[in-house]
């Protein structure tokens, strides 16, 4: 049976202000969900909260992965359980070698999943170099990336497109159960968008559930979701099938605002 991420009545505060006001979602392995919404609707807050960023304070509700409470886990443990966040703005960490980091991350995630404990295995064994290289090279070629890319420092001096590809590269290597892609399409030119989308499509099969967070419909030309949800003012206000995209395209977010929004002064 496939894994399942359940978000139930999630309320989240950021610096004392309530941003998410009762979000409900259910993402199964093998499904692609698009979560759309205007700026400020809480999309990134949801992404960071699911990944376990300490700045986001959950005040109510629950997040379960196969029945286990993710909210009690740190970001690292969630990752080892199979949650992956592709960052909208990946952090550059000068000095940290990309290949070395990837090998460490893959080793920790695999070790936790093989003993199914998810426990911290700090400083444990690394997966054999030969095995890692082989996987790395196949993921790199899938994303049309040069192999010397991983000799660079992590995200350091990467172009916008390179950063997004690097995120998908990590996703490919870590083989998560549920991936949250936070505005992975933003800032990409058409070529990069196509490559990144192809990568996501290649990975999303029966073993991966995707929550695709986006502001624009453009990426939906490349990645076809099974479900579309519209987040507005901290709540999922509409959910539907792929046809919702064309409604949105036609009517725009103004329709969402008039339909579900509170009157906005000024």
């Amino acid at each position: 049976m496939g894994s399942e991420l359940v978000v139930r009545d999630l309320h989240v505060n950021v610096e004392g202000k309530e941003i998410l006001k009762g979000v409900n979602l259910q993402v199964r392995q093998g499904e692609v969900h698009a979560l759309m919404g205007p700026n400020g609707s809480g999309k990134s807050t949801l992404a960071y909260t699911l990944a376990g960023h300490p700045k986001y304070e959950v005040t109510d509700g629950e997040v379960l992965l196969d029945g286990e409470n993710l909210l009690e886990m740190g970001a690292d443990e969630r990752a080892r359980k199979g949650i992956f966040l592709a960052f909208q703005y990946p952090t550059a960490i000068p000095g940290v070698n990309m290949a070395n980091f990837l090998r460490t991350a893959v080793s920790r995630v695999r070790a936790a999943q093989s003993d199914n404990a998810g426990s911290a295995r700090d400083g444990g064994e690394l997966i054999p170099m030969r095995e890692f290289r082989k996987e790395l090279n196949s993921s790199l070629s899938m994303l049309k990336m040069e192999s010397d890319f991983v000799r660079r420092y992590l995200n350091d001096g990467f172009s916008g497109g390179e950063k997004k590809r690097a995120e998908i590269l990590q996703m490919a290597l870590l083989r998560p159960k549920i991936a949250i892609l936070d505005e992975t399409d933003s800032g990409l030119d058409i070529d990069a968008l196509r490559v990144v989308s192809e990568g996501v499509n290649a990975l999303s099969g029966t073993n991966l559930g995707v929550l695709l967070i986006t502001h624009y419909q453009r990426i939906l030309n490349y990645i076809k979701p099974n479900f579309i949800h519209i987040l507005f003012n901290g709540r999922v206000v509409v959910s539907g099938g792929p046809e919702l995209a064309s409604v949105l395209e036609e009517k725009g977010y103004d329709w969402v605002r008039t339909e579900f929004g509170e009157p906005v002064a000024g």
Binding site: H53, A75, D76, G95, V109, R121
Partner: protein, 462 residues
């Protein structure tokens, strides 16, 4: 953004009634006994006496002196320090004859042009490749050099680079120096493999007054690694090192100098180091600071000849109660000179670092450029790093930048790595490794890189 975290910690120092001066500590009689034991030539003996006079004239620095404001040496009991013990040195066959803890050194890999091992106040081993010897390279202890090459040594030893009266501790060193390494590279000779000088102390109560004197003649090139270590614990009796390093780079020479200290935690380390760069010479100076209870090190590059260039790269990792204070001075005396400094430090526990970096560009040093960067990573709330940059620019056609930061590991970096499944501790270790990578990449001797990398892991995991 990096923020400065400052926590004032006060260490309680309990002192019993002041102990009486040890008769074998610093005094004229000890000086004469040392000089006799070393069989100093007369000029060396006179120089020691003169240094002792300067020592008496220069006041002991206190925290009222700007340069010493953040470094308090009152707890040091100088009158209990025994500068030397006249052992009969047992020669060592090589590094394999040293104690186990010494053998983790950068030296002894077999790919060196020469190796000197100093144990306490004496030379215990010396080797120099036949090739280097045949090309006229002199690599020996300073005692022997002073006897065998008096002109060469007399004209350079504590004259221009580190004069006897350069500071209180330079004077003390001038009076009581022991051991020491002398390297002379003749004109246009390139020594391709590194030369190593290793100094270690055989017991926690031992002290070091080692000296390094390098003269790189015109057009020569050499790589030299100076490593100093001891293994006293923090609560062992106080020990000290008062050292001096003098580098003379004649016109067109290239010197790569690695100075690495891993002194024991009972040792008070004072070091005055100065390089004189003649026309078109290039100095690459790498500094590794790991040990000691307290360090006060002054390092200066004097860019005396036009076209001279110096690169200084510093690596510091302090833990426990260590207090490491480094002064660097990029002194541009001539035009078209360049200096580029990068000094990085990580601190954990209650360790503290002080970094003073002065760039001075004299009026005559037009069209020079000088860069200085000091970065500090604070791995605990109690750790503290003070960074005090200074610029004195008298010329009007120069390029000069400097910058300093101190702050903890960035939470966003940690979160990013942890979101990939790395436990917090391992994520931190990767970040600390990465922090130093920029420095390590620049060190041209691979074994030094490895040694420092291993020390990062050791200090981080301790």
């Amino acid at each position: 953004m990096a923020t400065s975290v400052r926590t004032v910690t006060r260490r309680i120092i309990t002192t019993a009634a002041p102990a009486a001066d040890r008769p074998d500590s610093f005094n004229p009689e000890t000086l004469e006994r040392l000089s006799a034991w070393k069989q100093d030539p007369e000029w060396v003996r006179e120089k020691r006496r003169l240094a002792w006079r300067f020592y008496g004239e220069i006041p002991m620095p206190t925290t009222n002196d700007e340069e010493w404001r953040r470094t308090d040496i009152r707890p040091l009991r100088l009158n209990q320090i025994v500068p030397f013990t006249p052992d009969t040195p047992t020669p060592l066959g090589g590094l394999r004859d040293t104690p186990r803890w010494v053998q983790d050194t950068t030296a002894g890999g077999g790919d060196e042009a020469g190796l000197l091992i100093h144990r306490d106040a004496s030379l215990a081993h010396a080797s120099l490749s036949a090739e280097a010897r045949s090309r006229g390279v002199i690599f020996t202890d300073l005692d022997s050099a002073a006897r065998q090459y008096p002109d060469l040594v007399m004209s350079h030893f504590m004259t221009e680079a580190v004069p006897l009266d350069a500071s209180k501790f330079a004077a003390l060193h001038g009076a009581f120096w022991t051991g020491g390494t002398f390297l002379y590279v003749p004109k246009n000779v390139e020594v391709s493999l590194p030369l190593y000088s290793l100094t270690y102390l055989s017991g926690v109560e031992r002290n070091s007054f080692g000296h390094v004197l390098i003269v790189a003649d015109e057009g020569s090139a050499v790589t030299f690694v100076n490593e100093q270590l001891s293994n006293g614990a923090e609560d062992a009796a106080q020990a000290m090192h008062a050292g001096a390093v003098e580098l003379y780079l004649k016109a067109g020479s290239l010197v790569r100098y690695v100075g690495l200290q891993d002194w024991g935690r009972n040792l008070w380390n004072f070091s005055v180091e100065r390089a004189i760069l003649e026309r078109d010479s290039v100095l690459q100076w790498y500094i590794g600071a790991l040990g000691s209870q307290l360090t006060k090190a002054n390092m200066e590059v004097a860019l005396k000849g036009p076209g001279a260039r110096a690169e200084m790269v510093g690596f510091l990792f302090a833990d426990g109660h260590q207090h490491l204070d480094h002064h660097t001075y990029q002194n541009h005396l001539s035009g078209l000179t360049g200096s580029d400094l990068l000094f990085k430090g990580a601190l954990r526990d209650r360790a503290r670092s002080v970094y003073h970096g002065l760039i001075r560009i004299h009026k005559a040093a037009q069209r020079s450029d000088a860069y200085q960067v000091n970065r500090n990573l604070l791995l605990s709330k109690q750790a503290r790093a003070d960074s005090i940059p200074g610029l004195e620019i008298e010329a009007n056609d120069v390029r000069c930048t400097h910058g300093a930061t101190a702050g903890p590991v960035e939470e966003e970096h940690l979160f990013y790595l942890m979101s990939r499944g790395l436990p917090r501790h391992e994520a931190e270790r990767l970040i600390v490794d990465g922090f130093f990578d920029e420095v390590l990449q620049r060190i041209p001797v691979e074994r030094v890189q490895e040694r420092l990398r291993a020390s990062v892991i050791r200090k981080f995991e301790a």
